[in-house]
Amino acid sequence: MRKLEDLQRQLSEGRITRREFLSRAAALGVTAAVPALILQEEAMAAAPKKGGQYLQGLTGGATSDVLDPAQTLDSYMINVSFGQLRNNLTEISPSGELAPELAESWEATPDAATWRFKLRKGVEFHNGKTLDANDVVASFNHHRGEETKSAAKGIVGPVTDVKAEGSDIVVFTLDGGNADFPFLVSDYHLVICPANSDGTIDWQSGVGTGGYVLEDFDPGINTKVKRNPNYWKEGRAFFDSVQNLFIADAGARTNALRTGDIHSMANLDLKTVHLLKRQEGIHVFSTNGNKHVTMPMLTDVAPFDNNDVRLALKYAVNRQEILDKIVKGLGEVGNDSPVGPANIYRATPEELPQREFDPEKAKSHLKKAGMSDLKVDFHVADSAFEGAVDAAQLFAESAKAAGISINVVREPNDGYWSNVWLKKPWVASYWGGRPTEDWVFSQIYSKGADWNESHWDNTRFNELLVQARGELDSNKRRDMYVEMQRLVNEDGGSIIPVFMAYTHAATKDVGLPEQMANNWELDGHKNAERWWFA
């Protein structure tokens, strides 16, 4: 029972969450012995109630932010546009499943190429207009066509036609089968805005069907919203009003949280997270999602065109060390596959064993490639991910044991994505949450994709990709996706050393749900409607 007491102390000091406590206590086999007392305080907090002014410090904002969903690029506008003002046809629930949002139900033809979405009835926009199929059609057309500069153009690319049938049915025709289509429409760009009479949408006013109504939008500074009194969703949107402050500096965010100027923040400063955990009245928590670090090698450029060189490098990185030192253990080790904890068809460790740091294996792969040593340049900047330069240095150190000398080239942060990434043969990069296997594979690993950051072209993989996309039988899909993960792991051009958890901190008066979504940070960016004041 010594261990249990230890756990109790950790819980009361806030060093572990209630959920962690329960699972560890269960692991000790002592759940029944847990005194109800300990959990009482938190249990009281568990009943959501309305009220309060919620202030949050967000990152990823800019003076150039606009309310246009086609130009939503970073977390600030995702949280405001997708998490507060507007809704999608479907949403990812806190448990990671697909749930209906503005669409009540949907069905596909057997080839998964035509999808009919039935809209919820009686949903009103903030301006009193009733949602109908035309709004949905216009909202999707906003991202389609030659002229669009929408960042979601790739996602809706396969859509050849969107049309309304009556007022509450929308039919999408795709150029091929896609079993994941209902997942795709939950993307943060594809929010539903009211249609204008000419078939365009009114995004300028910020009017949507979401839980909060826009009051004041000052890009790069502050956005104020108030609760939508007619919100159609039951048991959501508890705050009277929300203020979204853009706070770029991690130190400033932390100070604001400590002084109570804000109630929550995301993207903690990993270097000081252990100090923040000790603060009284502040709750630090993280969710393991699909955000991961990649180190893509261009597979059509020597020496990376040789898979043995790629494998040698994959074995030469000490993943655990990067997890411990760079992301302070907040995350999990990667296995050179982008399919992560928020995916359904992720391969189990039995199906795809974890690749470990193994300098001997790295050496033997080098030998197979006909090399005794290897010298490569690794181009990095901290724009790729926080701590990228340090991670590269660690990699260079561990690779020495395998006879590989990595020259870390420090690139400027400014312009990294336009001048280094996709241009230099070996760089660092990161990817946020993509909720489906098909999404991440087709955007980043399929032949000819704009963001195929390793120029990888594997015939079998590309075949499977199309097959799995059109397959509605989930057992068959699972087999295909596992095989694809194996292919990426063994042949792909990206080293994926770690998955980084989404890190957050909140003052103790913020009520947090038992289960939080892991598709994005901040409860899948839906914190404004899912959290409350205890």
């Binding site: 002229e147 790069g220 100027d261 704009d450």
Partner: protein
């Protein structure tokens, strides 16, 4: 007086020329940066098609001189143009922020200038005393620390530990003045600590310098008190260098406060210009630079005029 007017007009004419040259340099410099607005805006999610569509829409496919002259033409008509990044009127975009920046600068100046001059005069009066040493050490230490460090120290004491002032200075145009002053107190104090040493030392040095002149010795001999000598005889003649230093610091308070703005999340121009350079939003960068350059030119002009007024020899040059 007529001569003074002539000098002012001459300086203003030169100022306009300088502004023009600066705008050319800025346009060229931003052009030299790798990448353009469309790439920066879309970052990692950019594709060839979306970048091309974006460039066409914003006219970025036209040559740089073409864009510059269009901008210059509008500027002469008093139109700052629209931001490339979000299509908003730049005058509207920078209006509130400019006001905020000037508010903070004036706030800091109201605290720091009298403080620095008074400390300087007292230091000169009690030269080499313990007081003089302490003031020197304290002000020089505060100028030696980086601004963000001073800012964080102030936050730790005044907002985290004591809870007297907020660590966020999120003011809006409709914040009442007293609340604005309360919220912006820590940033103003940070800036004060950063600029006081320079002005104080210059006041002290120029007064001490004059104390060795024959007319001060004369005043001494006729039995005036030290305080009278300094305020009546030394200070009026010391104004010229002091005013120049004060003005340089005022200009710094307006154009050099980016770091303080970031730490206190203060919505001023500095943050905007950094954002805009990173996004390659040239019209906004140009507009900010013109404002900054104009500030410098006007403040320098003021300094010159003040020096001339306080020094009859400069007013009637032979």
């Amino acid at each position: 007086m007529f001569k003074l007017l002539k000098i002012v007009l001459q300086r203003l004419g030169l100022g306009v020329l300088v502004l023009f040259i600066i705008s050319v340099i800025i346009a060229g410099a931003v052009e030299l940066l790798p990448g353009d607005l469309c790439q920066e805006l879309q970052g990692q999610s950019a594709t060839k098609e979306t970048v091309a569509a974006c460039r066409k829409e914003l006219g970025l496919d036209k040559p740089v001189y073409h864009r510059y002259f269009v901008w210059l033409g509008n500027m002469l008509k008093g139109d700052f143009g629209v931001s490339l990044a979000n299509g908003r009127q730049i005058s509207e975009l920078i209006g509130d922020r400019t006001a905020n920046t000037f508010f903070l600068a004036i706030y800091a100046a109201i605290i720091s200038v009298p403080l620095a001059v008074a400390l300087g005069i007292l230091a000169a009066l009690h030269r080499n005393s313990i007081y003089d040493r302490v003031v020197n050490i304290v002000t020089l230490s505060s100028i030696s620390f980086p601004e963000f460090f001073v800012a964080y120290i102030l936050i730790i004491f005044f907002s985290v530990n004591l809870g007297w002032f907020p660590s966020l200075s999120n003011i809006t145009p409709d914040t009442p003045l007293t609340e604005k002053m309360y919220k912006a107190f820590l940033p103003a104090l940070t800036l004060t600590l950063v600029v006081v040493a320079h002005m104080m030392r210059m006041t002290r040095a120029s007064i001490i310098n004059l104390l060795a002149s024959p007319y001060i010795e004369m005043a001494n001999l006729k039995g005036m008190t030290r305080r009278h000598i300094i305020t009546k005889h030394a200070l009026p003649n010391a104004w010229a260098p002091i005013v120049n230093v004060i003005v340089i610091n005022l200009a710094y308070l307006i154009v050099g406060v980016v770091v303080v703005e970031v730490v206190f999340v203060y919505p001023g121009l500095g943050q905007l210009i950094v954002d805009s350079v990173a996004k390659r939003d040239i019209p906004v960068v140009q507009a900010c630079c013109v404002i900054f350059a104009a500030t410098y030119i006007i403040l320098n002009l003021t300094a010159d005029i003040l020096s001339i007024i306080t020094n009859p020899r400069l007013l009637h040059p032979r």
